[in-house]
């Protein structure tokens, strides 16, 4: 089962785990990305493309399913305005074998950062608003999977 979603509503991590685990898989790996409150950040806004963002997540999920033996994959990304502590992204990967679940989970979060149409804008308590710059380190991590 592959589940991919782009949503403005808060990600219900517990409900996503329940849905994902319905098959009773041997090994499940998870990654949860949350909004950091560093430097007085008060809002993180995620801009997305109405079609290509979800399509990009779907492409990554299918690439992972082609590469590893997976029983279930969940890839949910939140968009719009978020506050520190909110969940931005949830990746769940399950397989009969832990090595495949862990590798798929890491692949998905690494490639998601460089391949999917999403842009972060930060607003700070002092009124500053800045678009987050892509980091060279993210590209290096993503390229390891080529």
């Amino acid at each position: 089962m592959i589940r991919v979603a782009v949503q403005g509503a808060a990600i219900d991590v517990g409900a996503e785990f329940d849905l994902h685990d319905a098959g009773g898989h041997g090994a499940s790996a998870s990654f949860i990305g949350r909004v950091r409150g560093d430097g007085g950040l008060v809002e993180l806004f995620l801009e997305h493309h109405p079609v290509m963002t979800e399509a990009g997540l779907g492409d990554l999920a299918h690439a992972a399913a082609d590469r590893w033996q997976l029983a279930a994959l969940t890839l949910v990304h939140r968009v719009g305005a978020m506050a520190p502590g909110d969940t931005i992204v949830l990746v769940l990967a399950s397989s009969p074998h832990r090595s495949e679940a862990l590798a798929a989970c890491e692949f998905l979060i690494d490639r998601l950062k460089t391949d999917v149409m999403l842009w972060k804008r930060e607003t700070f308590g002092d009124g500053r608003v800045t678009w987050v710059e892509a980091r060279a380190g993210d590209a290096v991590r993503a390229e390891r999977w080529e």
Partner: protein, 85 residues
Amino acid sequence: MALSIAYFAWVRERMGMADEVVELPAEVTDLTALLAWLAARDDRGALAFAEPQRIRAAIDGVMMGPGAPLIGAREVALFPPVTGG
């Protein structure tokens, strides 16, 4: 040739609009030429596309490199490097 262009993130802010339809001059046949044409068109374009190496693009829903041809393209998306996750 009529082409729809959609802008995202700071490219959208600098252009002052989310999308537009343009009538391309015949000599604008690839992405590199499109960015140069937009940069030369007005002040907003100059601001958004002053550093074309910072711009990424998709043509009709597919990510494309800088020199990709526009022949037959209906919609181009122009945006900064992505920062999700």
